[in-house]
Structure formats: C-alpha cells, structure tokens
C-alpha cells in the first residue's frame, strides 16, 4: 500500500478544469517530484491533497484511508504537512509565533520548544530573528521559516511547493540539503513541486511530469532526466 495515492482526481476553479484525472503514488520513504510548466496544475495537485481545493471526482488515499475532501485541518492532523507556494508566512506573527503555529496540533509545550530548537539548528538565522515579524524577513529567511514551520509537526509526508523559488544558489543548496536530511535521517516522505527541474530530479527518487492538468510522463528521476522531451522543455536542452 502506498503512503499517498491519487486516483483519477479532477479539480476545478469555478469553470476552469485545473486537474483532469491525476493518478499518482508516493511510497513511504520516497522523495517524489512533480515538474511541469506554469499553470500545469502542480500547486493545485498539492492543494487538492491538502483539502484546500475540492476534488470533484476521484479519490485521495493516505495509507489506504480515504481522505478525499476532508477539511484541511483534519488532513494536517493525520500527518500531511504542506509548505505552500509563496511560503504563506503570517506577516504579523513573529518568527517564534509562526513556528508555534506549525506545531498547533501538538499539545505539549516542552516538545514544541524542543522541535523549535531543532529547526534553529538547521536554520541558525531564524534564531537570530526570533522576535521579528514574519513579514519583515527577507525572501530567503521567509523560505527558511516556511520550511522550518513545515517541519514542526514532523509530518509523515511533507508537500513542498517550490521551496527554491527566488532563492540565491547557496540557499537553494541549503534548502535541498535540509530536504535530503529530512528524508534520509527522519524518514519523512516528500512530494516536491519544483520549477527548478534540474535540482528536483537530482534529489528525487521518482518524478511525474504534468502538463495542463494531466500527467504526461512518469518514471525514475534518471529516466525522466534522460527523456529528450523533458530535456528540451524543462532542462534547457
């Protein structure tokens, strides 16, 4: 049984048919990436898994349990973390409060503190900014905060939407390093959406290629990286 499975999922924004029958699987312990051009439906796929977008048709299973169209807070509480596109930092909460919100469903304050310390070990910069309002952080710092906040709950599976967007190359390396550690040391399963296909394919075990709401290609990262069409469209030749 896969950790996460989508069966023929259709989603709409009003009349816009954004997902036209997505089927995919993520096995426990994998890093799977979803690549595709602008507007392909990558974010919508993650948002549908999280319950933010209604699935009009199809099924979403977590460990075989049907989670289709559960409210987002319930999906989170059964172990699906989601670092949304554009980071979703609460601009008027401090760094500390943002991180605390990441562990909202946790009731043990001491455990929250411990996890926060673990996040600060990964991103010492955040500790320096602990009392600063989220909205006043730089873009890179906000991405660290968003990633750190996504880790606070220690989800079974973390959905990450373009964690490298707008970051300097050093920071991209740092964030991907964190993702790899998270996967290899903590065993967190990861579903990664990326524009930076080169990076994503380097770190992922498997990949799906999305075009206008449909999956057009899937396979191991090596296979996908070798595919001539993919090379031409997403890897710059």
């Amino acid at each position: 049984m896969s950790l996460l499975e989508l069966q023929n999922v259709h989603s709409f924004y009003g009349h816009i048919h954004a997902l036209k029958g997505i089927s995919l699987r993520v096995e426990e312990g994998e890093v799977v990436t979803l690549i595709g051009g602008n507007g392909a439906g990558k974010s919508t796929t993650l948002r549908t898994i999280s319950g933010l977008v209604h699935a009009r048709e199809g099924k979403i299973l977590l460990n075989g349990q049907d989670i289709t169209n559960l409210p987002p807070h319930e999906i989170v509480s059964i172990g699906v973390g989601h670092v949304p596109e554009g980071r979703g930092i609460f601009p008027r909460l401090t760094v500390r409060e943002n991180l605390e919100m990441g562990a909202y469903t946790l009731s043990n304050p001491a455990e929250v503190e411990r996890r926060m310390e673990a996040v600060f070990e990964l991103f010492p910069r955040l500790k320096e900014r602990i009392s600063q309002k989220g909205g006043t952080l730089s873009g890179g710092e906000q991405q660290m905060l968003a990633t750190g906040r996504g880790l606070m709950l220690r989800p079974k599976i973390l959905l990450m939407d373009e964690p490298s967007m707008g970051l300097a190359p050093v920071l991209v390396e740092l964030i991907f390093g964190v993702i790899r550690n998270l996967n290899q040391q903590d065993g967190t399963t990861i579903l990664l959406v990326e524009q930076n296909a080169l990076m994503a394919l380097k770190y992922a075990n498997r990949a799906y290629v999305l075009e206008t709401g449909k999956i057009v290609l899937s396979g191991s990262s090596q296979e996908i990286a070798q595919n001539p069409e993919v090379k031409k469209a997403y890897l710059g030749g």
């Binding site: 999280s50 319950g51 933010l52 409210p71 987002p72 807070h73 989170v76 509480s77 989601h82 949304p84 979703g88 609460f90 601009p91 008027r92 909460l93 409060e97 605390e100 919100m101 990441g102 909202y104 469903t105 304050p109 001491a110 503190e113 309002k133 906040r149 709950l153």
Partner: protein, 391 residues
C-alpha cells in the same frame, strides 16, 4: 520556560493597563486645555454674561468647576464604547467584515441582564440585599447577558454569514443589516409576548446609585466636587477587565495566536491544523459576549432600555473602532475613550458656550463630524498603521 511564560503574562497585562492610563490622561489633558482655552477666549462675551446670570460665576470658573465631573463621565461612557467596539474590531480583524448586527447582540445582552435582575427583584432577592450580594447578583446578570449575547452571535455567524463567506463583500454586509432588524424585532416580539412592555427599567438595588466623593477642592468660594457613582466605578472596572483580558487572550495564548493566524491568512492557518470555522465561531462568541456584558453595564448606567437601545451605542462604538483603526484592539480602546470624552465635553459645554444656540443634543453631530475628519485625513484610523495588534 515557566519564567518566560510569566514575564510575558505580566507584560501582556501591564501593557494595556499602561495604554489605558496614557489614553485617558492624554485625551483628558488635551480636551481640558482646549476647553479652558476656549472659555478664556469667551470671557466678556454674551456666553460669559449668560453664565454669570444663570450660575453666578464667569464662564471660565464655570468650565473649571465642572471639568472633573465631565472627565469622569466621559471616561465612563468611553469605556462602554470601547467594550462594544471590541466586538466590531475583532470580527473585522478576522473576516474584514463589519458585523452590523453587533448593536443588537449588545441589546440582547442588556435585555437578558435586565430581565434577570427584574426576575430576581420580583423573587424578593434584591430588596434589602447587602452590597456584597448586590454585586454578586450584578455579576450573575452580566454573565447571563454574556452567555446569551455570545450564543446569539455564534448562531448569527453560522446562519447568516458563513454561507456567504465567498460571496462578494457587499452581500454579507447586507445580510448583517437584515439580521440587525430581525433581532430588533425578535426582542420586541419576545418582550410583547412575555412582559407586554418594550421599555424595561433595571431595578434599583445595592448601592449602585450612591456617589462617593473622591475629592472636594475649594476654588474661589465654590467647591470643585469630584465624585463618582458606584455604578460608574463598576462600569469602568468591568470594561478595563474586559480590555485587559481580551488583550491577553489575543496576544499571549495559543487561541489568540490561532485567531491572529486566521485573521492573516485563512488557507495557511488551515494548513497548520487550525479549524478555521471553529476559530471564527469563537471570535464571534468572544466579541458577542463582550458586547453582551457591555449591554448590561450600559443598562446599569442609563437604567432604561428598549429594543432599539443598541442603535446609538452601537453606531458610536463602531465610530470608535474606526476612529482608533478598525481591526486593532488598542485602537478600539483609544477610539472609545476619545469619542466618549468628546461627546461628554460637547454635551456639557456646547449649550453654555453657544448661549443655548446648540444644545447638548448636538454632541452627536460633533462626534460624527470628527469621525468624518479622521476618515478624510487618516482613513486607517488613529492607530491604523500599527497592524501588529490586529486581532
């Protein structure tokens, strides 16, 4: 850990208390100086003559002698406005929507509290009650008013606003106005079916009507008396408790952080595992309960209520919220105090200063005129830029 928590607790309690002191002092001093200056300028005028004839003292002395009482009354009504304004501002902070039905939520609190006291009186519990038990009965009435108003606020949100959450902004606003009329008529209907009376008067009990003297300062042959009614002390005390309590809840508790998260970004808040609908319900519950408590306090202070009792305090409190910067708890406090003071100053001095051309009833025009000026020159309100406090 524990120490961090404690120091934050203390800070979150002291900060609003400090703000209250600053706001009351600042607006009191500024308005007093202005009014005294105005009185000085009016010396020798027709207004001065009239005052000497009527009160046996010149206009400056008259202004000065009355000033302490005006300040006390202004602060009292200011706190009532601030307490009601909290409900508008909390809901606005979370949903960016003005709950026009809040004035009727306030009225429901007033009616439930007053009916409870009338019932207690008819059961013989109030007459001859000691001061202590009178206070306990009042607290009971306030709690009942809070429960009723809070529950109605939740029901209103679930039935009239939630289904419209994704509709254009104007739609829930119109729904709120409809709910406002509906609740007004519901109060009328219930009162006419049960008591047959629309006007209800809070029973006289305890020592709430007594005044105790804070000071009496001899001045040029007269005395400047500084006294305050026991019920005004209760109103001020209860309102401060609510302001400080809400401030603590919003800034220092997990629930408060969740409320602020939902206010800033509902979708992301839900990705944190926050049940957004529950938080919105709780926001209405808290705002409604505070409004209900303010209703009982208002009835205590002004004794007489009717089904339309919510209209003026409601619109004034809304004004206060906008004046201070809607969505901002500190702003509601500041706006309430400033508006209450302005209004009381106008009500007390307008008649004398204009030789009766403008009576006390023009105080509302003054208050709203100032609101319009603020909206023109500072549309985000006095504290509109300090968004850190947004509910």
């Amino acid at each position: 850990m524990r120490r961090v928590f404690n120091s934050q607790t203390i800070r979150e309690i002291l900060r609003p208390l400090g703000q209250i002191v600053v706001f009351v002092t600042a607006s009191g001093v500024v308005l007093s100086l202005l009014i005294l200056l105005l009185a000085l300028l009016l010396r020798g005028s027709a207004a001065d003559q009239a005052t000497i004839e009527r009160n046996g003292m010149d206009i400056f002395t008259y202004t000065l002698v009355n000033l302490p009482q005006v300040l006390i009354d202004g602060v009292t009504i200011g706190f009532v406005y601030a307490a009601i304004a909290l409900g508008y501002t909390m809901v606005y902070g979370v949903l960016e929507f003005i709950n026009f039905a809040h004035s009727e939520i306030f009225a429901i609190g007033a009616f439930v509290g007053v009916e409870a006291l009338i019932f207690l009186e008819s059961a013989g519990m109030l007459s001859g009650a000691s001061n202590l038990s009178a206070y306990l009965w009042l607290i009971l009435a306030i709690l009942l008013g809070m429960i009723a108003a809070g529950s109605v606020a939740i029901l209103v949100e679930m039935s009239a606003y939630r289904p419209l959450r994704h509709a254009p902004r104007l739609v829930p606003l119109i729904s709120a106005i409809g709910v406002s009329f509906f609740l007004q008529d519901a109060i009328r209907l219930i009162e006419s079916l049960t008591t047959g009376q629309f006007h209800r008067i809070i029973p006289t009990f305890g020592n709430f009507d007594e005044r105790f003297s804070l000071a009496s300062i001899p001045y040029l042959g007269t005395n400047i008396n500084l006294d305050i009614q026991v019920k005004s002390v209760w109103v001020i005390f209860a309102a401060i408790l609510m302001l400080v309590g809400l401030n603590y809840l919003v800034n220092a508790t997990k629930l408060g952080k969740a409320i602020r998260s939902v206010a800033q970004d509902q979708a992301t808040a839900s990705l944190m595992g926050i049940n957004v609908n529950r938080i919105i319900s709780l926001t209405f519950l808290i705002g409604g309960a505070l409004g209900g408590a303010a209703g009982v306090l208002y009835a205590l202070k002004f004794t007489r209520i009717d089904p339309f009792v919510g209209f003026f305090p409601g619109i004034k409190a809304f004004t206060a919220a906008v004046l201070g910067g809607i969505g901002n708890i500190t702003g509601a406090l500041l706006g309430g105090i400033v508006l209450g003071m302005l209004e009381t100053f106008a009500g007390s001095y307008l008649n004398v200063f204009t030789v009766g051309a403008f009576g006390a009833e023009y105080k509302d025009i003054l208050a709203f005129g100032i609101l319009i000026l603020v909206l023109i020159f500072r549309p985000s309100g006095l504290l509109g830029e300090q968004v850190g406090q947004k509910a």
